[in-house]
């Protein structure tokens, strides 16, 4: 249970849970949106692929948040992915 102990208690655990739940959702949504925007297939198809895969992304981010012992790494990767993918999707705008 090494990683569980490393996860620490109190604030550290709260931060990890928040990162997994909210950050994980944001990162998964950002990734799914970017995928939907960039996939070189029909609009409706790309949208559906993004939506279908979004839960897999969320689960992967969420589980990894509790697997990786270093909270700083967890927070930077997950929140970072959320900002990068979400920002990219915003900058690209709606598919022309």
């Amino acid at each position: 249970m090494a990683s569980a102990q490393d996860a620490g208690r109190g604030w550290s655990m709260a931060g990890r849970c928040l990162t997994a739940l909210v950050g994980g959702y944001a990162a998964a949504a950002g990734l799914a949106t970017l995928l939907a925007r960039l996939l070189p297939v029909a609009r409706v198809e790309a949208t559906a692929w993004g939506m279908i895969l979004s839960f897999l992304f969320y689960a992967a981010f969420g589980l990894w948040a509790f697997h990786e012992p270093r909270l700083a790494r967890v927070a930077s990767v997950i929140w970072g992915s959320a900002i990068v993918t979400g920002g990219a999707a915003l900058l690209l705008g709606v598919r022309p």
């Binding site: 569980a4 609009r43 939506m51 279908i52 839960f55």
Partner: protein
């Protein structure tokens, strides 16, 4: 990897477990949604008619009762659903800031006569179905909570698979009467045996509400999100009314035309936009009970002339995938035998969640030591969720037979009977020691299920009985036997603390177990 995953598996499972158990149980019951409704309205025995005729009678009733509404939706009956179900949506108010008019409540019509069904008022199987993803909470909170729990379930399944090193061997391992070992084995057998089913039902469950949970890909590709759904169906809601009055063509003829175009497949749903207008549209949806894809094809006709306007485009791979996922979750494709297999697989899901919850408590219990607060809390919630919910569901069915058929508001009373029994028993069980409470609540649940056939026989009488009611009541007896067996096993099991073997167990085996259970 395995250790961190075992840890997260335990917590994900615990935090969502009680709600997941209720979702699994009521969802499993929902495989028989039309049958439960049919059982709950025993006096309703309609004369079956064809699809075209059912559509005609429904339209006639709607023209009399909601002629000026913006949209009508008609669900045509089939072998399992006996009544035609209709919804209408009122015309939006001219004020652009006013919210979109809500869908009016469902009306169930007799397919042959087109008058509302005259039978005892009940929510029927619809209640379990709605509860399993709305949890009787105000919209949209129930759906969000259900989605969060499903996400926890997905995480628990993935981490559970990673944790599990001997996935094939455990397929055949069930050691009875070995305390914690048995609970672990039971959890593994119920989980591994139907693992593809559990993973499928969880993921596809999330997909059913994906437009609510993750709408962002739509926003990235469509300036107007409505265009996305319009590109899946031939959407009639977006059609503007002309303002000129118009009369609908014969709907039965359109139903027959669409059916012929689909090589005889049935029409399951009729959506009529602006029904009293010259520009009215009739969209017919193909039934999906003969295929996996539940997102079925549709054809749109001009309402007044009956001219064929458009058909839904052939779906690409992603839309097809989403449709099949939806179909797998709903299980409409399943014939009677396959439906029973789905039902049994659903029960293994219930067993997996229940044994997992019990295991969480059992493996933290120290022999002879007084349980700490968190452990007692989990124990009590386990009793309330696992042992008392079946009693509540039995009470729902019993109330259907015991409340006077003509009583006003009886549909809501049936629902109240379920929650009062469920939460009332959970409260009462606090007065008893945990072990006794388990046994007594499971026994009570078993007795309530066993009472259903008897009450059915007494209140409805033998004359009205046919094979369907016998099969339903027989199933209730089987459920009573399963619950009774659980109570009997518990009563026979020696008390944990009194077992010497646990206290002298060898350090080596203890370590191995800890690794397995983690």
């Amino acid at each position: 990897m395995r250790q961190s995953m075992a840890w997260i598996h335990g917590w994900l499972g615990l935090l969502a477990g009680w709600i997941l158990f209720a979702m699994f149980v009521t969802g499993t019951a929902s495989y028989f949604r039309p049958e439960i409704t049919r059982w709950m309205q025993p006096e309703y025995r309609p004369r079956p008619v064809g699809n075209a005729e059912a559509a005609r009678t429904a339209v006639a009733w709607l023209q009399k009762n909601a002629p000026h509404d913006e949209q009508w939706t008609i669900y045509l009956p089939n072998e399992r659903t006996l009544a035609t179900r209709v919804f209408t949506r009122a015309r939006p108010s001219p004020d652009p800031k006013a919210p979109r008019a809500p869908r009016r409540p469902e009306t169930r019509l007799d397919p042959a006569t087109g008058v509302p069904v005259e039978a005892r008022e009940t929510r029927g199987g619809e209640f379990f179905y709605r509860f399993h993803f709305q949890l009787q909470l105000p919209h949209p909170w129930g759906r969000w909570l259900a989605g969060l729990c499903a996400m926890f379930m997905l995480g628990a399944i993935l981490s559970g698979v990673i944790t599990h090193k001997r996935i094939f061997a455990d397929f055949f391992t069930l050691r009875w009467s070995k305390g914690r070992r048995s609970w672990l084995d039971a959890h593994n057998v119920s989980a591994v045996l139907a693992l593809p089913y559990h993973a499928m039902i969880t993921y596809t469950g999330l997909i059913t509400l994906v437009v609510m949970y993750t709408p962002w890909p739509i926003l990235a590709n469509y300036a107007q999100p409505a265009v996305f759904s319009a590109s899946l169906y031939a959407d009639t809601a977006s059609q503007k009314a002309s303002g000129q009055p118009g009369r609908l063509a014969d709907i039965g003829r359109l139903v027959e035309a669409a059916s012929a175009e689909w090589q005889g497949a049935r029409v399951s749903r009729v959506i009529i936009g602006n029904p009293d207008d010259a520009s009215s549209t009739v969209t017919l949806l193909r039934s999906s009970d003969d295929r996996l894809n539940a997102r079925s094809a549709s054809i749109t006709y001009a309402g007044v002339s009956g001219e064929r306007l458009s058909a839904s485009p052939a779906p690409g791979p992603a839309i097809e995938t989403a449709g099949v996922m939806l179909g797998l979750h709903l299980g409409w494709f399943a014939g009677p035998l396959l439906r029973w297999v789905c039902f049994l697989l659903g029960l293994t899901g219930c067993a997996m969640v229940a044994t997992g919850l019990v295991l969480w408590a059992v493996k933290r219990r120290k022999p002879g030591a007084k349980p700490f607060f968190g452990l007692s809390l989990v124990d009590r919630l386990n009793i309330g969720a696992i042992a008392c919910l079946p009693a509540g569901m039995a009470a729902f069915l019993l109330a259907n037979r015991l409340l006077p058929p003509m009583l006003a508001g009886r549909a809501d009373l049936e629902v109240s009977a379920m929650f009062w029994t469920w939460f009332g028993l959970a409260g009462l069980s606090l007065l008893r020691p945990a072990r006794r409470a388990w046994i007594e609540m499971l026994t009570l649940s078993a007795l309530l299920f066993a009472a259903i056939p008897m009450v059915d026989l007494v209140t409805i009488g033998g004359g009205a009985f046919d094979g369907f009611f016998l099969a339903f009541d027989g199933t209730m007896v089987l459920l009573a036997v399963v619950l009774g067996f659980a109570a009997w096993r518990l009563a026979r099991r020696p008390v944990d603390a009194a077992r010497p073997r646990r206290r002298v167990s060898l350090a080596v085996s203890e370590v191995r177990e800890a690794m397995d259970v983690a």
